[in-house]
Amino acid sequence: MSAGTFEEHPHRAAGATGDDLVVAGVSKRFGGVPALSDVSLAIEAGKVHALIGENGAGKSTLGKIISGVIEPDEGTLTLGERHLVLRSPREALANGIVTIAQETAIVPGLTVAENVYLGSEVATMGFVHRREARRRFRALARHVGFDLSPDVLAGNLSTADKQKVDIMRALSRNASIVVMDEPTAALSSDETAALHEIIRSLTRRGSAVVLISHFLSEVLSLSDRITTLRDGRLIRTVDAKSATEESLIEGMLGRSLNAAFPPKAPVDPAAPVVLDVEHVSAPGVVDCSLVLRRGEILGISGLVGAGRSELARAIFRDAKVSAGTVRLDGGELAGHSPHRSIHRGLALIPESRKEMGLFMGRSVRENVSLSRLDLVSRLGWIAAIRERRAVSKVLARTNVKAASMALPAMMLSGGNQQKLLFARSVMSSPSVLIADEPTRGVDVGSKRAIYDLLVEMAQDGMGIIVISSELEEVLGLAHRVLVMRHGRICAELTGDDMNQQAVLAAAFAENLVG
């Protein structure tokens, strides 16, 4: 526990305020897949430099490389004259690079002041000088204009106040580069305005701010320079003054990948409605209504955090639904039980197969049959032969390639793991399937197999909802697209209106009323 750097006697440990950060030829691959390819940019002191792009474009990866969370495979970082090798956030910190993430990095059980000086306590031989820390804290709070008590437990603060603690920590270390990853995503409009003011004051002090944000108007009003990333590549860096929302959207669009989609079968407009959601509100979901017909694929798009998965879980009755009704095949789904939803004919493929879907250490057979063991058992006794027969039938139906159904799920490839979840759903022959990120973590070849599967299932008379962060996936599969923003369905697009511009415009459009 050494005495750290403080605003009053800043011993400039390393990166002095006023140096530019130059990122040169940075590449990062996760396994075989490039997340960033040969990205170069200069972050100037005293300026706000925004990074924008679609989900998965690589902007957060770049932010993490700058803040030392991830090491690049190739390329260099140079701060002023010095070449930086950052192996951890701690080393970045020592170089004056501080990150303020969407999820704040506070210790809930410590006070505000203790959090601000965490890791750089004012101490002699391990004994912390509380009074001195409080005094410095007050001076700092006055300086930035925050009204925070040093002695409140940080865990009791609102999200905005927690972010203020993060910011004060950054300031107390005399940061020369501040990386902010979606800092306003969790804030109300007042708090957002306050944060914007802080960002401006940071640059006035000579710090550089790297702003990663989904909100284009925020980016346009705050930034000096804007870098657009797409598929891990730098598309262009422009002066904010010369940019418009349209030009930025256009830059983020136009993905190279074209994983050909199966042809869309027309939906009979008179087909019966299989799912009818009326005015449903639940945590993260505000007053959502939708209708799904037999054989129809409905896409739900929106930014991460817009409430897509929350809506899926509300329909599945896995979340506490505070208002509204869900009708499946005409009958109302009530209560709070995925068990009942499944047995009534609703299946959900959750967004994360590892955390919410599969039992990695258990066999393929057990993973598939779990939802409908009642079909292969009598009085609770599992008929092993019937189970094997039923499972091998759905495995064939969903094209799962596994050497044996006794193999643990973790031995399968990502695509086959994902198809296991489809197999589990198919086994309960549902009338409605909700697939949340059906191709996440799946290679291109398997993607096509999953698309084919979805289209076939729809043709067999299932109603399907596809939720995806990949725009072309939603557009390529769905007959109709709903766009969500802030927990609401903000647009319904059909026919010619179903294009990337329209979806992005709806997803990014801002309503300032929180």
Binding site: A35, L370, G380, W381, R424
Partner: protein
Amino acid sequence: MTKPNADNVEVLEEDDLGRVGLRSGASKLVQSWRMAGIFIPFAILFVILSITSQPFLHTTNLINILDQQAATLCIAAAGTLVLVAGGIDLSVGATYGLATVVAGEIAAHHSPVLAIAAAIATGLVVGLVNGLIVTVFKINALITTLAMSFVIGGVALKVTSGNLIVLSQNSGFYRFANAQFLTVPSAVWMTLVFVVVLGLLLSRTTFGRYLVASGGNAEAARLAGVRVNLIKVVAFTLSGGAAGLGGAIDISRLLSAQAASGGSALSFTVLAGIVVGGTSIAGGQGSVWRTGIGVLFIALIGNGFNLLGIDPLYQQIVLGLILLIAVGLDSWVRLRRR
């Protein structure tokens, strides 16, 4: 074996498998410890004791071991289900104690059947309460059952007013655990049936599947339609019921009971048996059969130390070390898998 063509998550995982592959020798050894697991050291210990100690292999001694372990075996078998479902039950010792005094008080004045039924019912109720607290109020199972064991211990003292209960050998109650069939006492037969039933329950029924799923990944289980809370409540109830049954067997065997019998020592012995048997403390996998062997393994160590006249002091040390090795192997296997 691996195809480096998927996205990041995917390939990281395959890297992991690759690394496991490199160390497959050691890893396989550990895996086989899990599967054949406790059987090998058990067999080795059995052979050593047979050679070194004359009286060990006598039928009387062997049946005696089983008779003494009857209650522990029943409780550990049910405790395995709780552990597999991702819980833990530290209250079984206290529940056992309460069941013995309840059975004793009733057997002294009423019919033996009533006494036995009351003991089991007591256990079931305690288990049900444990399960409801853990699932409905979402209180950590370790803390819940620790707290409950104090409460139950207090209730047991209240029942006996602190006195020792002694029953006469003439009562029909004595025959419950001591009736001989094929020279084996009924306590052993009941235990055998109970362990086999629970073993099949875990390995062959939908309930067993749901237990494994609930303990392996509760979130995934819930989304797959498993009523995780219900499954956990049933597991805790069975565990309590087994403690009740164990209590009834032991007071019938020993004809005396007091509030403090069982207690935390029994809870820990049960847990040790389960863990030595290779059931994961993290939930999601386990086996009743191996728990049975685990309990008997610990019993053999005790029996062997007695027969060979070794200071019982060392018995405790050896037991502790074996437990550490078992848990260490378990977490090592899980580390390797991540």
